[in-house]
Symmetry: C2
Subunit: 294 residues, 2 copies
C-alpha cells in the first residue's frame, strides 16, 4: 500500500525529493571512561598488593583546554553508531577490543564545548589488567592512567515551600602524571509533583570540558551496578582469587567488606579451577574464573 501525503507523494517520492533542512545540527562525540584495576607495589614480601581503580586520560595537544586532561573520544561518523565510534576510539587508544562497553548518558549542556555545538554520548568500558599489558605499544602521544578517588564531601538540604533541595558534593581526585581534582555537586530537587537531578561542576583543576561530570557519572553507574550484576568480573584477569575479587569490589565501592558474606554473594558468579597461587609467602589461594552460565 502506498499512502500519499498531503502533497500527493508516495513515501519513495517523498524521500527522493527530501533534502535535509538548513537548521543547525550538533556534532556528537563519543567519549569514554575506561576503567581498569592495577596492583600497587606491596610493602612486604608477605603482604598482598593493594588494588587501584584507574581511568585513562589524554592530555590535550591543542585548543581548547590545551594541556588539560580529557577523556578519550572523538566525533561520531555518519557511517557508524555511537557505540561503534566508542569501540573504535577504544581500539585506537588502547589497542584493546572485545571488552565490556556500556552507554552512560548524553551530555548536551549548551557551551560545554567552546568551539561549537557538541553533544557527548558517553560510554564506560571495563578492561582487565591482562589486556592492559598488550597496550605497551600504544602510540597515544600523551595518554596516562590515573588513579581514581571519588568521595562525598558535603551534604546540604534546603527546605522549600513545596519540597526540598538536597545538594551532595563529591570530590573527584585523579592521581597520575599530575594531580587533578574537581568537585561535582549533585542537586536533587524534590517537589510534591516531580523529582529531578542535576549535576554541576563546582570546581575543576586540570580536567577539560565537562569531563569531571562524565567521570562522576561513570563512577556512580559502576558503583550502582557492582552490587547486583557481575560487571566487576570484567575488570578481572582470566584467573583470580576471591580475595582479589573482593579487593576490586572494595576499591570500587570505597568500602571494606566482610569476607564470609562477600564469598557467599559472589559464589554463583564465579567457577572454581584447580589452580592455586604460588610463592605468596603464605597459604596458597584457589584461583577462580568468571562463570558464564546462569
Amino acid at each position: 500500500m502506498d499512502w500519499l501525503d498531503r502533497n500527493g507523494l508516495t513515501e519513495r517520492e517523498f524521500l527522493e525529493q527530501y533534502r535535509a533542512g538548513d537548521y543547525e545540527r550538533p556534532s556528537v562525540a563519543a567519549d569514554m571512561v575506561i576503567f581498569t584495576v592495577t596492583d600497587e607495589e606491596a610493602d612486604s614480601y608477605r603482604r598482598l598488593p593493594e588494588k587501584e581503580l584507574r581511568i585513562l586520560l589524554i592530555r590535550r595537544g591543542g585548543h581548547p583546554f590545551l594541556g588539560k586532561w580529557a577523556l578519550p573520544g572523538g566525533f561520531v561518523q555518519p557511517s557508524e553508531t555511537t557505540e561503534q565510534a566508542a569501540a573504535r576510539e577504544l581500539r585506537e587508544e588502547t589497542g584493546v577490543d572485545d571488552v565490556y562497553l556500556e552507554q552512560l548518558y548524553t551530555f548536551s549542556d549548551i557551551g560545554r564545548d567552546p568551539r561549537t555545538w557538541v553533544m557527548s554520548c558517553s560510554y564506560m568500558a571495563l578492561i582487565n589488567s591482562d589486556k592492559l599489558e598488550l597496550q605497551a605499544g600504544d602510540d597515544a602521544a600523551d595518554a596516562s592512567w590515573f588513579k581514581v578517588s571519588y568521595r562525598q564531601l558535603r551534604e546540604q538540604k534546603e527546605l522549600m515551600e513545596d519540597g526540598y533541595v538536597k545538594t551532595l558534593e563529591y570530590e573527584l581526585k585523579l592521581s597520575g602524571e599530575e594531580e587533578l581534582s574537581a568537585v561535582v555537586a549533585r542537586t536533587l530537587t524534590v517537589k510534591t509533583t516531580s523529582t529531578s537531578t542535576e549535576y554541576k561542576i563546582v570546581s575543576n583543576n586540570g580536567l577539560a570540558f565537562d569531563h569531571a561530570k562524565i567521570i562522576a557519572c561513570a563512577i556512580e553507574r559502576l558503583r550502582g551496578k557492582v552490587n547486583y550484576t557481575d560487571i566487576a568480573l570484567h575488570l578481572m584477569p582470566k584467573l583470580f582469587t576471591l580475595t582479589e575479587l573482593q579487593q576490586v569490589y572494595e576499591v570500587i565501592m570505597d568500602k571494606e567488606l566482610l569476607k564470609a558474606a562477600f564469598r557467599r554473594k559472589v559464589a554463583d558468579l564465579v567457577a572454581e579451577t584447580d589452580h592455586y597461587t604460588e610463592n605468596a609467602g603464605h597459604r596458597p589461594s584457589r584461583l577462580y574464573r568468571r562463570k558464564l552460565e546462569e
Copy 2:
C-alpha cells in the same frame, strides 16, 4: 596563563578563528515515552476499577511512516539541552509541566530514519492522572493514549565456543485507537572476555521508526527502577490508597504482589493522611500521599 598551541595561538585567538569543519553532523531528536496510569471501567459497583499503564503516541501526518504511530518528540535546537527539548515537547503535547523526566538512551543505528542521519536521545516521563485531566484542551491533531503490554514470548540460548548467545523475545502490544504490536529481541552475547546486549525489532505492526525499541527500553527501565526507588509514586495522584499504589506496581511489573509484604515495602515512601475514600461499596480506605523526606 595563556598557553600557545602549535600555531602560536592563545585559546581566545584559536576560538575566534575556529570554524566548524565541513564534516557531516547528525540531527538529534528528543523522543519521549510518556507513561500514565488510568482506571478501567469497573464491572460492578463494589469492585475496584483495574489500573492500566498507558503511553502517548502520535499518528504521523506526513512521510516517512505516514499513518503509523510515533513517540512524541522533535529536534533539539542549538539553544537548548536535550532535556529542555524533551520538556518542551512534553509541554506542547500534553500541556503538562513539572513532571518526572529521565533520560533513557541515545539510539543511533544508521538508517533508523530514512530521511537523513538522525539520532534519538530518548526520555521517559511519568505523569499522574490528575494532570492528565488538564490535558483536555490539547491541540495535538492525532495524539492518543495506548494501553501497554510487554511480555516475554520466547527465550533461546545458543552455545558458542567461547560463551553463549541468549535471545529473549518480548511482545509489545499497544491497544488504543488501533491495535499495534511489535516483537523486540534482546540479544545477550556472553563471552569470557566481554558481555554485550543488543536490541532488534523482529516484527513491527503500526509503529514508526525504531520506536518499538525505545518503548521496550522505557518499560524495562521503569520495571527495573520500580523496585528500588519511589519512581512509581510519580504516577499517583495527590492522594491515593495503598491498594491503588499496589495496583500500579502490579500493572508495571505485570505480576501480582502480596498485600502484607507490599505494604511493608512502601511504608516509608508514603505518608498517611486523615482522609478516607467514600462511597466505595465496601470498607473505606485510608488515603496516603507521597512522602518527600527520607
